[in-house]
C-alpha cells in the first residue's frame, strides 16, 4: 500500500468506477439536471484517465492537452445543456426527461 496512486492501474480502476456511476446515474435518474451532472461525472472520469496516462508517457503532453480541451467542451456543453433545460421547462413545466417524448409517434 506504500505505492498507492503511483501505478496507472489504480487510476484506471477509479476512473472506471466513476464513469460507471455516471452512466448508471444517467440511466436511472429522470431529472434532466441530474442527468447533465452525470454526464459531467463521466467526462471527469475520462479526464482522469487521460491525465494518468499522460503521466505514464510524460514526454508527450497530448493527454493533458486533450483533457484541457475536454474541459472547454464540457463547459460549453453545460451552458447549452442548461439552456435547453430551461427551454424544456418552459415548454413542459417539468424537468423530467421522459416527458420529452413529443417526437414519438
Amino acid at each position: 500500500m506504500q505505492t498507492l496512486g503511483l501505478a496507472v492501474e489504480h487510476y484506471v480502476f477509479l476512473a472506471g468506477v466513476i464513469f460507471t456511476l455516471g452512466a448508471i446515474g444517467f440511466l436511472v435518474r429522470r431529472n434532466v439536471l441530474v442527468q447533465l451532472m452525470c454526464i459531467e461525472l463521466m467526462l471527469n472520469a475520462v479526464n482522469l484517465l487521460l491525465v494518468a496516462f499522460n503521466r505514464v508517457y510524460p514526454a508527450n503532453m497530448a493527454g493533458q492537452i486533450f483533457a484541457f480541451f475536454i474541459i472547454a467542451v464540457a463547459a460549453a456543453e453545460a451552458a447549452v445543456g442548461l439552456a435547453i433545460v430551461l427551454a424544456f421547462y418552459r415548454l413542459k413545466g417539468t424537468v423530467m426527461s421522459d416527458e420529452g417524448d413529443s417526437l414519438k409517434l
Partner: protein, 206 residues
C-alpha cells in the same frame, strides 16, 4: 513521503467516489450538485498527485467555479419544480435492480481486470518537477496546439450565443404573422393527373 502520497491518493479517491455516489443518489438536485462538486475537488486532487498542477487548477476554476455554479443557479431558478416528480407510474423495481446489476458487472469486471494485472502494475517513472506546470502546458498550447486552441475559443463563443438563443425562448416579432400551420394532408392537395386515375396506389383527395 510515499506514505503521505498514498494517504493523499486514498483520501482523494474516496472523496470523488463519495461525491459520485452522492450525485446519482440524492433526491434534491442541490445535493446532487454538491456531490458533483465533491467529485471535482477529489479529481483535482488526483491531478496534483499526477504531477498535473495546471490541470488541477483548471479543474477547480472551470468545473467548481463555473459549471457547478451554473447548475446551482439553474436549480435555484427552477425552484421547487426542479425536483418535482410528475404524476405517473414511478420507476419499477426492475429498473432499479437492473441498474444495480449493471453497476456490479462494470465495477467488479473492472476490478477483476485490475486485480488480474496486479502482478504487472505499470509504475510511474520519475519526471522533471516542471512536468505539468503552467509554463510547460502553456508552451504546448500556444505552439503545437495553437489552431485547436483558437477553434476552442470559437466553440465557446458559439456555445454562449446558442445558449442565449435557446434560453430566451420565442420572442414574438411585431408585424410578422405566424406562419399558418399546414395540415398534413394538405401537402397532397390538387387534381390528379389523368393517367394516375384508377391507379391502385393513388387515391384522390378532396
Amino acid at each position: 513521503m510515499n506514505q503521505v502520497g498514498s494517504l493523499f491518493f486514498a483520501l482523494m479517491a474516496g472523496l470523488s467516489l463519495l461525491g459520485a455516489v452522492g450525485t446519482i443518489s440524492a433526491r434534491n438536485p442541490i445535493r446532487s450538485a454538491m456531490g458533483l462538486l465533491l467529485t471535482i475537488v477529489g479529481i483535482a486532487g488526483l491531478f496534483l498527485r499526477l504531477n498535473a498542477q495546471f490541470m488541477g487548477a483548471i479543474q477547480l476554476i472551470v468545473y467548481a467555479g463555473a459549471v457547478v455554479v451554473l447548475f446551482v443557479f439553474v436549480v435555484m431558478l427552477l425552484g421547487p419544480d426542479a425536483s418535482k416528480v410528475p404524476s405517473g407510474p414511478a420507476r419499477g423495481w426492475a429498473a432499479r435492480a437492473f441498474a444495480g446489476v449493471l453497476m456490479a458487472v462494470f465495477a467488479f469486471g473492472g476490478g477483476a481486470l485490475v486485480l488480474g494485472a496486479r502482478d504487472s502494475l505499470t509504475f510511474f517513472k520519475p519526471v522533471a518537477p516542471e512536468h505539468g506546470s503552467v509554463e510547460v502546458v502553456g508552451r504546448e498550447l500556444f505552439t503545437k496546439m495553437l489552431v485547436p486552441f483558437e477553434l476552442a475559443t470559437a466553440l465557446l463563443i458559439v456555445a454562449v450565443v446558442g445558449a442565449i438563443a435557446v434560453a430566451r425562448g420565442h420572442v414574438e416579432q411585431k408585424g410578422k404573422a405566424k406562419p399558418a400551420k399546414l395540415a398534413p394532408q394538405s401537402l397532397f392537395h390538387g387534381p390528379l393527373h389523368p393517367r394516375d386515375a384508377g391507379h391502385p396506389l393513388v387515391k384522390e383527395r378532396a
